[in-house]
Amino acid sequence: MGSLRMHKRLAGQGAGLAALPHTLSEAFPNCPTDASAVGFALSRLPRTQAPVLWVQDRLSRKEAGRPALAGISGDRPIIMVDLSRAVDVLWAMEDGLRCRALGAVIGEIWGDPPGLDFTATKRLAIRAEAADVSCWLIRRAASPDLSAARDRWRIASLPSAPHPHDPQAPGAPRWSLDLFRSRRVKPGKWVATYDGAADRLHLAAPTRDRAVEPGDGALRERAAG
């Protein structure tokens, strides 16, 4: 019954997330060379043809590479801004969030620069909500300190799904998602399988089941199950 509750909540949350206004989300990859956070952020972007403003600081570019257009599904134009300092990245993101023609703003910041504090994230979040443009801040080698981001995710790669034709080959990517702080929905942990061809994310409960919750076994739920 625990997994049933989980599935129901996930289903509700999926619909709810789509209806929620776009805002600032932070993603913390568990290791800097892990591209899962970028993949997850891209999969959550709205399905439009509006251009994406992608701002990177120098260390992110050097340590974790640049986004490769050939690996990104969809035909979205990307406007790359290569900067050196984190304060410039924040400035460019804030400026980009004033432009409603953009589909999304993605920023990559390395470490914990002094400019990236609660005030900076709050400015980003308020601007993103005012312009209704989704904004992702991907923070590598960073500690999840005080931040005004509405959703904060910890994301790591997991061994991929079995390949349908080749048992030796890695299949569809799997990520472990940990929504450890959120203002809008209840935090939780999921295992996501990304279907690149359909650009869809399949969420599942983590393999370890949770403890049975006291509300389980109510009359309505039994009828529904």
Partner: protein, 488 residues
């Protein structure tokens, strides 16, 4: 249009060549080469057989056109109405302007002097019609002047090529025995009309003749120079900071632009210092613009770069790269225009961080991963290149592939265990190889091929590795392994 600085000596036959259907053909020849029997339009190899010491240079046709267009504007010193005539001529409407230079003959001498000071050889003629001037300049005597009633006599002895006809018609006329313009004039009009009734202008000797004799009008349409739009502030006392004057200058400039229906893509701010020095700041926009507030904001961090010295007393703001710009209303309720916001965002970002920091990646047709992507300007049009992606590609690419240290190599496939960035990875699953051969038409000889593998390590990280080269491929020692990208 060869400048005198690198002109070859007159006695050496030199030709300019351009690409033809069957190899290079001669575009132009100098006097020595023409004397040796070399004529434009023939193939370079044939002419080399005639004249073995021939020197061949490639012609820059587009550069010649651009230079001629600049020369058109330069020639307005003599008269206000000038135009380019074909690939190698200028036409100047000097009606009412010759007396300023002391008559037509003196004007021609003056023109020839000035053009020779530029390093150009010119053949000049004055006539009452475009066609007559064309023929006299090319086939007439030096600096010939043809009055209003003299065209009939002056043109008569000239060859029939002076009628601006296409080569085919010239051949027809030569075969008919009509070798001079006078011979064509003597043919009855009715016969010529009947023979060339359906011919185009360029193939119709009668119409060309009428144009040369002034019976058929041929107006000269002069091209307009771009207007110079500039605002300036003259100051009573030298100052050190132009910032307080910028909003006024921007508004003045934008008023002028709006009045002319134009927008600018470049702004040049120049300050003239009291010690005679000049310093300037340039900003650029990604789309034509004439909004004073926006143009002013582009100067925000740049004005500090001006070195004021002992102060300056004149500031000018000039608009460059002027383009037509119409006012657009995209929404009936007069709301904001989304596109405009995007162009302004790009302007702000490029003004602050430099135009090279703001780019847009586009796909290119290449198998080599680092060449499969090109950077273009953020709002440039996408090139019409259809790129079909067949293989799975990583989400992130490293700018420079990083070499890894193999701990445990296996005969086939990627290494079973390797160290990258001081971490040991054990390959759990892999797919590949995908062999990407070097592009021999671009790469240096000796570039090794690459075998790409997508590997997944024990923690689930998916990397894109490649082995550079093969064992015993004769292009270096043992193959090395690199990490090139990360899959999601």
């Amino acid at each position: 249009m060869e400048r005198c600085g690198n002109a070859p000596p007159d006695d050496v036959p030199v030709v300019l060549a351009r690409e033809g259907h069957h190899g290079p053909v001669i575009h132009a020849a100098n006097r020595a080469a023409r004397i040796d029997g070399i004529h434009p339009g023939s193939r370079v190899v044939d002419m080399r057989a005639i004249c073995p010491e021939l020197q061949v240079e490639y012609a820059d046709v587009a550069g010649d056109h651009a230079a001629l267009d600049r020369l058109v504007l330069w020639a307005r010193r003599w008269c206000p109405w000038t135009a380019r005539d074909g690939d190698d001529g200028l036409i100047l409407d000097t009606t009412g302007a010759d007396h300023l230079w002391g008559g037509e003959a003196a004007m021609l001498v003056e023109m020839e002097t000035q053009l020779s000071l530029l390093g150009l050889t010119a053949r000049l003629a004055v006539a009452s019609t475009w066609g007559a001037a064309w023929a006299l300049a090319r086939f007439g005597s030096v600096r010939s002047i043809c009055g209003p009633g003299e065209a009939h006599f002056k043109l008569g002895p000239l060859p029939v090529s002076g009628l601006r006809l296409d080569p085919k018609t010239q051949l027809v006329l030569r075969r008919l025995g009509l070798k001079t313009i006078g011979a064509v004039m003597d043919v009855p009009r009715l016969s010529l009309t009947r023979r060339f009734v359906k011919a185009e202008l360029a193939a119709n000797p009668l119409m060309r003749l009428d144009q040369a004799l002034g019976k058929l009008a041929e107006p000269v349409s002069s091209m307009d120079a771009k207007p110079v739009i500039r605002a300036q502030a003259r100051l009573a006392e030298p100052i050190f900071d132009p910032t307080p004057h910028l909003p006024g200058l921007c508004e003045d400039l934008c008023d002028q632009l709006k009045h002319a229906g134009l927008g600018c893509r470049r702004l040049h701010l120049t300050v003239y210092k009291t010690d005679g020095d000049v310093s300037y700041v340039d900003v650029a926009t990604s789309a034509p613009n004439r909004d004073p507030a926006h143009l002013h904001s582009l100067f925000r961090d740049k004005v500090e770069r001006i070195n004021p010295g002992f102060g300056f007393d004149l500031i000018t703001l000039a608009a460059g790269a002027i383009e037509e710009m119409q006012d657009k209303q995209t929404r009936l309720d007069g709301g904001s225009d989304d596109d405009l916001h995007l162009t302004r965002l790009i302007d702000r970002l490029s003004a602050k961080f430099g135009p090279r920091a703001v780019t847009r990646p586009v796909l290119r047709q290449s198998h080599v991963p680092e060449r499969a992507e090109a950077q273009i300007a953020a709002l440039a049009n996408r090139p019409d290149e259809v790129v079909v992606l067949t293989k799975e590609r990583p989400l992130r690419l490293l700018d420079h592939p990083e070499e890894l240290r193999v701990l445990y190599a296996v005969p086939e496939g990627p290494p079973a265990r390797f160290v990258w960035r001081r971490q040991t990875h054990r390959v759990a699953r892999y797919t590949g190889p995908e062999r990407i051969a070097p592009e021999w038409w671009k790469d240096r000889p000796g570039t090794r091929l690459r075998d790409y593998f997508k590997v997944e390590d024990q923690t689930g990280r998916r990397l894109w590795l490649y082995r550079e080269g093969l064992h015993e491929d004769g292009r270096g020692g043992d193959p090395r392994w690199f990490v090139h990208g990360m899959f999601a």
